[in-house]
Structure formats: structure tokens, C-alpha cells
């Protein structure tokens, strides 16, 4: 009976009900997006960092990995020290640099990663194989397109290029043996990877024995934070950062987005709350006589409240899937804007859909909607019956 009355009331004012559903849907879409934004980056970044199983990263003291051009001196002895530790399963040194590929029309410049192919964790092989000798290189699609080459071809590359003199330094003929996708680079960023010794040699004495970062994979069961602290004490020239530390840094740098998410999410909730409160208040005010009659014939107050709250809940129920769909569409759109951050790894999503996020958003909104409906309906159902009926009769 209560359900029938609630449904009938909603159907009686179709335009109002539809607008309210739309309003709540937009509210829930925004709320969902903000919940996704507040946790998306972090989780996306965590997934990225752990994708290859490296829990620690070592960089020059006071810097974050690849945050600056600084390099670690005597990197080979550092790597040997790390490999000698019982808790360490694998160490991947990486040297960052640039390579210039001279073409008839000029030179194409690309990021270069010097790696040890056997333990590297910077790219995934799409076609071909890893470099196995000094003059072999792998490249991503962006670079292959730019230089007009494919797997199996050779290409001239140099570590230094002077645009004024059009002169190359550290030039070599390299054999492209694989097509790869770089995990930590942007999709459109031209990049190649080659043996670290080759990249060092091409740069001459400047980068001799150096590395930009060393990534460390620990054995199963090793306490990551304890090992991190031990390495920091053992190696004063480097900063050792764990995944958690890296995430903290990311949180700090991108705290703006999280705070924006909280603020906009709160605003969405408040607006949704106000909308439902207004809807219920108007609905109750219109039916104040009817409510008084129901009370007069013996219908309990909580049942009347339940009927009205049910109307609010019905609007929420219909609006929720609509809001979910709208939220996912707008999240995709907003993500596509933010994905254009220069240098952002391809795999980072700002808006990451997690079912728990959807439930959180919908749960919050449902709670808000119910709360919004309770007070005005309780107030309406608590008016003095005789006075209300007399006023309604006169009105």
C-alpha cells in the first residue's frame, strides 16, 4: 500500500520526477567521478610501480627517480653491492639519456634507456627480442615511425648532436632487434633501449660507470621497509625509495587533485541532498491534508515517513544506474584530458574505476537521499491533525 502510494505520487508529477531523477543522476555521476579521482591515480601508479615486481628504487641523493639529470657515480660497484645482499633477488640499473637519429631531413631525437636486458623492467616486448649484444637496440612504435624503420633494420644513432654544426658525436650503427612498449613513458614519446654499456660508451667519459636509477626486486618474505632503511644507511650517496614512499611523493605532488575530488564530491553530495530535500518538502507540503487524513484514520507516523522516504529512495534507485553510466562517460572524457600531461606514463589513469568506488558513491548518495527525505516528511507527519485538516479545508 505504501509502495503503491509512493509510486502513484511519483507518477502524478512526471516532469518533476524526471527532472529530479536527472538532477540526482548528475549528482551521482559527479560524485562517482570524484571518488574515482581521489583514489585512481594512487592505485594506477601503484600498479605501474609494481608491474615488474621491483619494490625499491635507488636514485642520486635528494632526488626522485628520473626527476633530474643527476646520475649515480660508480654505479657498477653499487649494483654489485646490492646483488651481494641476501634479500635482493634482482637489480636493474638504468641510465637515462638521449639518442639522435640523423635523417636526410634533419635529426630525430629520442629518449634512450641504457639497460641490462636480462633484468630490465622498463619495457614489454611486443615483437622481436631483447638486445643480446653491444650494438643492438629496441624501440617503440613512435620512434620507429619517426625514423621510418622496423624490426630487423639498422639505424645510425648518436649520443650528441649539435644543430648549429650539424655534427654528431658518439655515433654508431645500431641493429633494431625488437619493438617494445615502455612502461613508464608516455605513449607518444619516442624512445629506445640499448645495453647500458653501449649508451655509456656513446656518451664518452661523461657517463662512464654511471646510472640514473637502480631498481631492486627483493626476495619473497623480505621486509621492504626494513631493507630500504638498511640500504639507506649502507649507501649514503643515494636515496632509496620504496613503492609506498613513491606513492607518498605522488600523493603530495598530486594532492591538488585529491583535494579537488573531495571538495567537488562534497559539493555533489550537498547539492543532491538539497535537491531531494526540496523535492520531499514540496511533495509533503502539497499533501499535507492527505497526510493529516491518513493520520486521522490511524496510519502510523513512521509509515507515512516511510512512504515519503520510499519516493526519495525510488528516485535514487532509478537515478543511480543512470548516474553510473554518465559518470563513466565523463570520467573517460576527463581522463583523456589529463592523460595529455607531458611525460605522463601511458598506463596512468587519473580516473580508475573500482567497484568499491561505485558502491561508496552510491551508498553515500543513497544515505543522503534517505536523510534528506526523513526530516521534512517527519515534520509533515507530526503536524497537529485537527488544525491541519481545518486549514486544508479552508484552503
Amino acid at each position: 500500500m505504501i509502495g503503491t502510494l509512493a509510486f502513484a505520487s511519483l507518477v502524478r508529477h512526471r516532469a518533476r520526477t524526471l527532472l529530479a531523477i536527472l538532477g540526482v543522476a548528475v549528482s551521482s555521476a559527479m560524485l562517482l567521478d570524484m571518488v574515482m579521482l581521489s583514489s585512481g591515480m594512487r592505485e594506477s601508479f601503484r600498479g605501474l610501480l609494481l608491474s615488474q615486481g621491483f619494490q625499491l628504487r635507488l636514485s642520486p641523493k635528494g632526488t626522485l627517480p628520473f626527476d633530474t639529470e643527476a646520475t649515480i657515480r660508480d654505479a657498477d660497484s653499487l649494483v654489485a653491492t646490492l646483488r651481494a645482499r641476501p634479500g635482493v633477488q634482482a637489480v636493474s640499473p638504468v641510465l637515462g639519456g638521449q639518442l639522435h637519429f640523423p635523417l636526410a631531413s634533419g635529426a630525430v631525437t629520442a629518449a634512450a634507456l641504457g639497460i641490462e636486458p636480462a633484468v630490465q623492467g622498463d619495457y614489454e616486448l611486443v615483437a622481436g627480442r631483447n638486445p643480446s649484444s653491444a650494438n643492438e637496440i629496441v624501440a617503440n612504435d613512435a620512434l620507429l615511425r619517426a625514423v621510418g624503420r622496423s624490426v630487423g633494420d639498422t639505424v645510425r644513432a648518436a649520443a650528441g648532436y649539435d644543430a648549429q654544426l650539424r655534427a654528431l658525436s658518439g655515433e654508431r650503427l645500431l641493429h633494431i632487434v625488437g619493438r617494445v612498449r615502455f612502461i613508464y613513458l608516455a605513449l607518444d614519446q619516442r624512445a629506445a633501449a640499448l645495453p647500458i654499456t653501449t649508451l655509456r660508451a656513446m656518451n664518452g667519459s661523461e657517463l662512464d660507470g654511471r646510472a640514473s636509477v637502480a631498481m631492486v626486486r627483493l626476495r619473497a618474505g623480505v621486509d621492504v621497509e626494513r631493507e630500504r632503511a638498511a640500504l639507506e644507511r649502507l649507501l649514503p650517496r643515494v636515496t632509496v625509495i620504496s613503492t609506498n614512499e613513491a606513492l607518498k611523493q605522488v600523493d603530495e605532488r598530486l594532492s591538488y587533485f585529491r583535494q579537488l575530488a573531495v571538495i567537488l564530491g562534497a559539493v555533489s553530495l550537498v547539492v543532491g541532498f538539497l535537491l531531494v530535500t526540496t523535492l520531499v518538502t514540496v511533495s509533503v507540503n502539497e499533501r499535507i491534508g492527505e497526510i493529516a487524513v491518513m493520520r486521522a484514520i490511524g496510519v502510523r507516523r513512521w509509515r507515512i515517513v516511510a512512504q515519503i522516504v520510499l519516493e526519495a529512495a525510488a528516485i535514487m534507485l532509478v537515478a543511480a544506474p543512470l548516474g553510473l553510466a554518465l559518470g563513466l562517460v565523463t570520467a573517460r572524457y576527463l581522463n583523456s584530458i589529463l592523460a595529455r600531461f607531458p611525460g605522463l606514463p601511458e598506463r596512468i589513469d587519473f580516473f580508475l574505476f573500482q567497484p568499491s568506488a561505485a558502491w561508496t558513491a552510491l551508498g553515500l548518495l543513497a544515505a543522503c537521499g534517505v536523510l534528506a527525505g526523513v526530516y521534512p516528511s517527519w515534520r509533515g507527519a507530526s503536524l497537529p491533525i485537527a488544525t491541519t485538516m481545518r486549514q486544508e479545508a479552508v484552503g
Binding site: 548528475v26 642520486p60 639529470e69 649539435d162
Partner: protein
């Protein structure tokens, strides 16, 4: 040079002695450096303190005196960077790093835009191993991040406006609907529909104007709070939020238009319903 600046935390060996403690064996006259305010705060350094700067940890380096504390620039590109910065005499840094007679870049001030164009062309024609760029072009390249953030904000703004329009229409419809009986009584008395619509629109306009004023006030307050907060978080003088006359005008015009449109739509809907139907008969 950038390397050095980035490595400052380990380079700065903090032998912060006060100027009065120089009664040791006579020291050569120390050169001075300027440090950024963040470093001064974190390392508790004051003007007059002596510190040692070196190219790598453990090296002998140079003893210098802190002669100035520099406020960080309001540069968006720097806000999220945690590194410290110091300013030294050029020759001293070149010597410390073994850089020789090299610099990373130099800046040229010209006497106006046409002089800039001319200077860029002449420098590039004669340059040997370097190129000249306009500062404005460099700024465009380095502010790509903020172009993205700008676009994001704009998208959020559009979504918010659309959402607000829907909410406004919904609420206006509800509130105008509440007075259906009053409207019915007026219609039965002979008051014309256009008169009723005009009165509702007038009311909606008044609410929109008031709402806009309150909104501008809230926006100004929120902008102040945002700036204070993020200036503290990132320790920068950069202004994150700027409320300009154009923005205020846009916001007020938009809310007026939306408010009046919502009121008009709601009123029209009501006057099109026969009066007796409004009474529920």
C-alpha cells in the same frame, strides 16, 4: 649546473657557525651565497651563517657565507618540486663543478619586441653550439602541464554549469509548483497568464541577482582560502586562484540567464495548466 642545484641536500654540509666564532686561525675571506627560503626554514639557516658547499658528498668544497635568503619565484613549474636552490657567484660554481668556462644558458634583455626578433636572428646566425629562443616560446613549451590542468578545469566548469542548470530548473519547478493554488486563484480572478509569468520571472531574477552576489562573495572567499592553503602546502608565492572582473562578469551573467530561464520555463508550465486543474479538480 642543474645537476648541482638538484643535489643540494647532500652538498650542503651544514657547518652553520655564527659569525662571532671566527676567532679560530684566520680563514680566507669567504664568498657569499643566497639560499631559498625553503632551505633556510628547513635547515634553520640565517644570514651570516657559514656553510660548506661541494660538488659531491665528502669533498672538501668551499666555505661560504649565507648573505641572502631568496623567496621562491611564483613559477608554476616549480611548485611541486621539492629540491632546494642556492645562488652562487658564477665563477665559484664553475670552479666547484670543474665546468670550465661554460654555462647552461644565458638570458638577454632587449629593448622591445622588434629588437628581440632581430636579436634572435642575429644570435642564431652567429651561434656556435647554442641557439637563442624567445622567453615567451620557452614559457609556452614548459607550461604544457598547466595547459592540461586548464583544460581539465574548464571541463569541470562546464559539467558544473550543466549540473547547476538542471538543479536550478528542478528546484524552480518545484517551488513554482508549490504555488499552484495561488496561481489558480489569480487566474480565476482574471489576472492574465503573461502577468503571472512576468511576476514569477521577476522573482526568479531577484533570486538570481541575490544568488549571484552571494556566489561572488563565496567565490572570492574560496579563492582566498585556496591561495592561502596551497601557498602554505607548496611554500610558494604563486597565486593558484585568480578572480578577475571577466570571471565575475561571466559567472553573474550565466547565473542570471540560468535563473531567469528556469523561472520562465516553470512559470510557463504552470500558466498553461487550466486553473481548475491546478486546484486539483
Amino acid at each position: 649546473m642543474n645537476v648541482l642545484l638538484a643535489l643540494l641536500p647532500i652538498l650542503l654540509t651544514l657547518h652553520a657557525t655564527s659569525a662571532q666564532e671566527s676567532s679560530r686561525a684566520a680563514e680566507p675571506r669567504s664568498r657569499s651565497i643566497a639560499i631559498d627560503s625553503r632551505l633556510a626554514a628547513d635547515a634553520s639557516l640565517r644570514i651570516g651563517d657559514r656553510v660548506v658547499i661541494a660538488a659531491a658528498p665528502g669533498e672538501q668544497g668551499d666555505t661560504v657565507v649565507v648573505s641572502g635568503i631568496v623567496q621562491r619565484r611564483a613559477d608554476p613549474a616549480e611548485i611541486a618540486r621539492g629540491e632546494y636552490r642556492i645562488r652562487t657567484h658564477l665563477g665559484q660554481l664553475q670552479s666547484l663543478l670543474g665546468y670550465g668556462d661554460r654555462v647552461d644558458r644565458f638570458a638577454v634583455a632587449t629593448r622591445g619586441p622588434s629588437a628581440t626578433t632581430d636579436a634572435v636572428a642575429r644570435i642564431n646566425a652567429a651561434a656556435f653550439g647554442f641557439r637563442a629562443h624567445r622567453s615567451a616560446d620557452v614559457a609556452v613549451e614548459t607550461s604544457q602541464t598547466f595547459a592540461v590542468v586548464s583544460r581539465f578545469h574548464r571541463a569541470i566548469g562546464v559539467i558544473t554549469i550543466v549540473a547547476s542548470a538542471i538543479f536550478l530548473l528542478c528546484i524552480m519547478l518545484l517551488k513554482v509548483d508549490e504555488r499552484r493554488r495561488d496561481v489558480a486563484a489569480l487566474r480565476l480572478m482574471g489576472i492574465s497568464a503573461p502577468t503571472i509569468v512576468r511576476s514569477v520571472v521577476l522573482e526568479a531574477s531577484a533570486i538570481a541577482v541575490l544568488g549571484s552576489l552571494v556566489g561572488v562573495g563565496v567565490g572570492l572567499a574560496a579563492s582566498w582560502i585556496v591561495n592561502r592553503h596551497y601557498q602554505g602546502v607548496y611554500r610558494t608565492p604563486l597565486r593558484f586562484s585568480l578572480v578577475t572582473g571577466d570571471i565575475v562578469l561571466l559567472a553573474v551573467m550565466l547565473s542570471l540567464v540560468l535563473g531567469i530561464a528556469a523561472g520562465w520555463l516553470a512559470a510557463r508550465r504552470l500558466v498553461r495548466t487550466p486553473p481548475l486543474a491546478l486546484f486539483g479538480r
